[in-house]
């Protein structure tokens, strides 16, 4: 057998067979568990005759989601819009800022420590102030989303840019590479997997940020819908909005993970 063929077989064993198999098994396992939990929930609510305004059954939630579907779609669109715009804005600002911080000793010693200290400020606590300053439109929600996404992306990008192995730095120095060459050919690609770790953290925060923004003051969005429907004892509808928020969060996370696989296929997978 040639070396080539041996390696090819090795690849198959290590890369395609095992993970695909175990991924399928874990997806199937968790789906079955989820279904079992929903059935148990339904059974418990019926058995103990828990009132719908307190804890609706899964079937009642589904029913109310169907009934309110056009409203739900509208409010989902609003929250999704705020989330995505805030997230995109955050990427556009924080990645260049991280690059600037890594390359400028001045920024590194002035702005960066302040940024890291501000990271401990609970960003959602700023939401009421934003409502006070900017009002009830989409803008204050987008800003909350921007703020909660900002730090994970800045920190991940900055640490990624600094993660170039020391021998590699020596190698490119020995070739007298320009800073631009070093950035494009080495630093940025090295940082990419780290950046995606930051993006995946940020996107889950983003949905939370949008909902908090809507809680504080809003006329639409899923956060607003939860607030209004609980106050009117339409608990099944609040649960419906919660389901949609969860689904949105999961879908966005996996969308980022998918983009990661396409853009940085060399990133370590967990």
């Amino acid at each position: 057998m040639t070396n080539d063929a041996a390696t090819a077989i090795l690849d198959q064993n290590e890369e395609s067979l095992e993970p695909a198999d175990s991924t399928l098994r874990s997806v199937l396992g968790s789906m079955l568990t989820l279904i079992a939990l929903i059935v148990l929930w339904e059974a418990l609510v019926r058995h103990f005759q828990i009132p719908g305004w307190l804890l609706p059954s899964p079937s009642a939630i589904a029913e109310s989601m169907l009934e309110w579907r056009s409203e739900l779609v509208l409010h989902t669109a609003v929250t999704l819009y705020e989330t995505l715009v805030g997230f995109a804005l955050s990427i556009a600002v924080s990645i260049p800022l991280a690059v600037a911080v890594v390359y400028s000793p001045i920024l590194q010693n002035t702005i960066y420590p302040i940024l890291l200290a501000l990271q401990s400020t609970p960003k959602v606590a700023i939401a009421p102030l934003l409502a006070l300053w900017i009002g009830f439109g989409a803008a204050p929600k987008i800003i909350v989303v921007f703020l909660v996404c900002f730090f994970p992306i800045v920190v991940a990008t900055a640490s990624g840019l600094a993660a170039v192995p020391a021998p590699l730095i020596d190698l490119i120095r020995s070739l007298s590479a320009s800073p631009m060459q070093t950035f494009i050919k080495i630093r940025f690609p090295t940082a990419m997997p780290h950046i995606f770790v930051g993006l995946k953290i940020a996107i889950t925060f983003a949905v939370i940020g949008a909902v908090i923004g809507e809680f504080v003051g809003s006329e639409n969005g899923l956060g607003y819908l939860i607030l209004v429907s609980t106050s009117q004892s339409r608990t099944p509808l609040a649960f419906g909005a919660l389901v949609l928020l969860t689904v949105m969060s999961i879908v966005l996370y996996y969308a980022i993970a998918l983009i990661e696989r396409i853009v940085v296929p060399w990133a370590p997978r967990n």
Binding site: D4, T7, D11, P165, P167, L168, D170, L171, I172, R173, S174, L175, S176, A177, Q181, K185, I186, P189, M192, V264, P265, W266
Partner: protein, 278 residues
């Protein structure tokens, strides 16, 4: 065209006239180090990594630096690559003081440090891209090198698909792509298993025989140091010093069988003596 510091130095010296040019060619050391010291500031005070080290290395010579950890062998290699400045002393490259890294050097490290997002071929081509060398010629040379190290057919593979030994072969190709006259190797086989390590040692000697270069090879393995070298430089720690230089008068090509000769043992004893007496 952008001139590297070394090219500038060469241009300047050739301007000086025939005398200087002739001085370059006639039996000049490839690399010469005079009274070189390097001290680092550390928490526990100043550490002397290298203390008054002098050595002259001839063109196309294969020199190994051997010694225990902390003897300054890797520091010496980095000084020769002009990657770190000595605290005292001068480094001469082709007879001229060298202050900045030169493109005439290729480097191999203990870790292959390949770029995970580049294929084998593109990893080998990295230095050529940075130096702005002719693309078509570089590609042809890269393929020659890849074939030379026995990786023909793997040029499209990615580092994660390769074993440690194969990755290190790629990093050797990368160090040679721009055809430097000096190859610096910092414990290049230390992370590999014993058998791969031996294979690669012989492979390196084969490459070196086919395309002569000045090789400076750092190792802590005495057998490897003797088997590969024209000269073994034995170093001792605290402070890092050259304790003994042993000329290895074994015929080439070298073979495993030579390791069991009395001559080899005598070389080994000469090296061990100074390393373990320090």
């Amino acid at each position: 065209m952008r001139l590297t510091p070394r090219q500038l130095v060469l241009t300047r010296t050739s301007d000086r006239g025939h005398g200087a040019a002739a001085r370059h060619k006639a039996g000049m050391s490839k690399i010469r180090i005079d009274g070189l010291s390097k001290t680092y500031a550390s928490r526990s005070g100043r550490v002397t990594a290298l203390d008054n080290v002098s050595i002259a290395i001839k063109p196309n010579e294969f020199v190994t630096l051997v010694g225990p950890s902390g003897c300054g062998k890797s520091t010496l290699l980095k000084v020769i690559g002009a990657l770190i400045r000595p605290t005292r002393g001068v480094l001469f490259f082709d007879g001229d003081p060298l202050l900045h890294p030169t493109r005439d050097v290729g480097i191999v490290f203990q870790e292959a440090v390949l770029l995970q997002w580049r294929s084998v071929l593109d990893n080998v081509l990295l230095p050529a891209e940075i130096l702005g060398l002719d693309k078509r010629k570089s590609r042809a040379r890269a393929m020659d090198l890849i074939n030379l190290v026995g990786l023909g057919g793997f040029e499209g593979r990615y580092p994660r698909e390769l074993s440690g030994g194969m990755q290190q072969r790629v990093s050797i190709c990368r160090a040679l792509i721009h055809n430097p006259s000096v190859l610096l190797m910092d414990e290049p086989f230390a992370a590999l298993d014993a058998m791969t390590r031996e294979d690669l040692g012989f492979e390196l000697m084969r490459i070196w025989a086919a395309d002569k270069k000045t090789v400076i090879f750092v190792t802590h393995n005495i057998t490897e140091a003797i088997l590969l070298a024209d000269r073994v430089v034995a170093m001792t720690p605290r402070p890092g010093r050259i304790a003994r230089i042993v000329d290895i008068d074994l015929p080439r090509p070298r073979t495993i069988a030579m390791e069991f000769t009395a001559q080899f043992k005598s070389y080994s004893d000469q090296v061990r003596e100074v390393i373990y007496h320090a």
